[in-house]
């Protein structure tokens, strides 16, 4: 299998604190790969390095076979690596539909002049973008909320809207940072189905950083365990669950 995302020897230091040291990660094309680990293990930091929002002290990131270590965050987004955020980052000054239309940014194709004078190309592309965004909203079950101000949505639905915004970009790789945070059991269940559906229907490769073990073990093809900024284990969920090192890391530290 080929890797869509390849991270090698990623090290991140914040001042004197070492957040990650020499972490490797391979994400197979078409897989759902989860990153788990105790609090402070560096999961979100690793996602930040992948998406270009955290500067790595050392190490490389390759996306779709190209070294993107030096590429800024927006260039990686434009190349089809799109992420969501642990703490919601909703565009509160827009409607739900506009939020998702913003997600289409990378494939809406017209220039400044087209939009200033509303050329035919502008109208065509805007129509396509709107229809595309509505389809994505429908996919996450928010079609009836299209016209509402995004900030009016309850928390759980804002999470869904963020996912709709991310998949509106037609990403090749979707990085989800704790999408189940703050969701109840039923919502988490539905989220698991949604994530699987995104992979099945759109062929999107997914990286999931998540605390909810049920969710992770149910939907992942591969699980990577981080501990104190280092690789601890990597493999299929069943194998990782039985790994004595992993059990020690979880039971030894969290179970008090």
């Amino acid at each position: 299998m080929t890797s869509l995302l390849e991270m090698r020897g990623v090290t991140v230091r914040f001042g004197g604190v070492v957040a990650l040291s020499g972490v490797d990660l391979d994400v197979d094309l078409g897989s759902i790969t989860s990153i788990i680990g105790p609090n402070g293990a560096g999961k979100t930091t690793l996602l930040g390095v992948a998406s270009g929002m955290v500067q790595a002290t050392a190490g490389t990131v390759a996306f779709a076979g190209r070294d993107v270590s030096a590429a800024p965050a927006h260039a990686r987004g434009a190349a089809g690596m799109v992420r969501t955020f642990q703490n919601l980052e909703v565009f509160s000054n827009m409607t739900v539909l506009e939020n998702v239309m913003t997600g289409c940014h990378r494939h809406v194709d017209y220039g400044v002049v087209d939009c200033l004078v509303r050329t035919g190309r502008f109208r065509r592309e805007e129509r396509r973008c709107r229809a595309h965004a509505l389809r994505r909203l429908d996919f996450v079950g928010l079609a009836d909320k299209a016209g509402s101000p995004a900030s009016d949505l309850p928390y759980g639905l804002q999470r869904r809207m963020e996912i709709a915004r991310a998949i509106a970009a037609d990403p090749a790789l979707l990085l989800l940072d704790e999408p189940a945070a703050g969701l109840n059991t039923r919502e988490t269940q539905a989220l698991g189905e949604l994530i699987t559906a995104i992979r099945e229907s759109q062929g999107v490769t997914i990286v999931l950083v998540e605390h909810d073990m049920d969710l992770v073990m149910r939907i992942s093809d591969a699980v990577m365990v981080l501990k104190e900024g280092r690789n601890l284990a990597m493999g299929p969920p069943e194998a990782v669950q039985k790994d004595p090192e992993v059990i020690k890391a979880y039971l030894g530290e969290d179970e008090d």
Binding site: P72, H74, G77, C104, H105, Y110, V117, R118, E125, E126
Partner: protein, 319 residues
């Protein structure tokens, strides 16, 4: 109703109102007040794109206004260029200056960006004052010819009113189109979350620079119209105080609203004329109105108007 349909209707109503206004006014002086109001509105619509939509700040837009006025004025008055050419060069040059200033300063945000643009405004003001050979110094640049378009001089105040009104309407239409587009969404997105905007591929540095240059170009256009209307330009008209006035127009009119920007600019241009009657306490009353405005219309004139419209709609539906 779709946003573009609503914009078109709004612009139609605005054009009609603008065209009829001079016939409803009893005094020619009011026409000239409106012309000045239109200059301000052109700047404020652009500044609102920068502040209200993209969430950046500028305390130096008076300087772009001044650059438009001075460059065009000097080229036409001192070097005898045709007014159309002088104006065009002034607008392009101001845009280029904004581009040059924007690259380093837009890396800053919040208070730091405010300070940087403030500093730029002060520097330009000093140049207007000190480069006496070109600008005429503190006493101003005189003898700027009247605006001419395609060889016809825009002589009367009424015709100047329509030319300026058309320019403002164009600026409004372009801005409304911009907001409901990929670019407008990118600007609004980076206002609330730069990270989330980047995540979906928005090059935030480029979009900030774009809207900064666009707002400077609008200010320069207003400056050109100003210079060739009054025939005169003095540094005091483009200083820090005016930059702050522009900011007040944006806020009082209503953030993130093209209509609010126009309302704020016209209201605050006309207000001092009506406050003349208060003589000594004019400034006091002016300040009081601003405070009351912000207390009772926190989202500006535009927000207040839409709240009233909604309340009326609810009442009508109930009956």
């Amino acid at each position: 109703m779709s946003p573009s349909r609503r914009n078109l209707l709004g612009l139609g109503a605005w054009t009609l109102l603008m065209a009829l206004a001079p016939f409803l006014l009893t005094n020619d002086y009011y026409v000239s007040t409106l012309i000045i109001g239109f200059f301000n509105a052109i700047i404020v619509v652009g500044l609102n794109l920068l502040i209200g939509y993209a969430g950046q700040i500028s305390l130096g837009h008076g300087a772009f206004y001044g650059l438009g006025a001075y460059v065009s004025g000097i080229l036409a008055a001192t070097y005898g260029l045709p007014v159309e050419a002088a104006g065009l060069i002034a607008i392009v040059l101001t845009g280029l200056i904004a581009w040059g200033i924007g690259i380093p300063t837009l890396k800053l945000s919040g208070h730091y960006l405010a300070m940087a643009t403030l500093g730029f405004g002060v520097i330009v003001s000093i140049v207007f004052n000190e480069a006496v050979a070109f600008t005429g110094g503190p006493s101003g640049l005189t003898g700027i010819p009247r605006l001419a378009l395609f060889g016809t001089t825009v002589e009367s105040d009424l015709s100047y009113y329509y030319v300026t009104g058309a320019a403002l309407t164009l600026v409004m239409a372009l801005s409304l189109n911009l907001i409901q587009s990929r670019l407008g969404r990118a600007l609004r997105a980076l206002h609330t979350s730069e990270r989330a905007a980047e995540a979906v591929g928005v090059d935030i540095a480029r979009y900030k620079l774009f809207v900064f240059v666009l707002s400077a170009v609008f200010a320069a256009l207003a400056g050109v119209l100003y210079a060739h209307y009054l025939g005169f330009a003095a540094p005091s008209s483009f200083g820090f105080k005016f930059s702050v006035t522009l900011l007040v127009m944006v806020v009082l009119g209503g953030m993130a609203s093209v209509w609010g920007a126009v309302a704020g600019a016209l209201f605050l241009t006309a207000l001092p004329e009506f406050l003349r009657a208060f003589e000594d306490i004019e400034t006091l009353v002016f300040g009081g109105i601003l405070i009351l405005g912000m207390m009772f219309l926190p989202s500006g004139l535009a927000g207040g108007a839409s709240r009233i419209a909604k309340a009326v709609a609810v009442r009508l539906r109930r009956d």
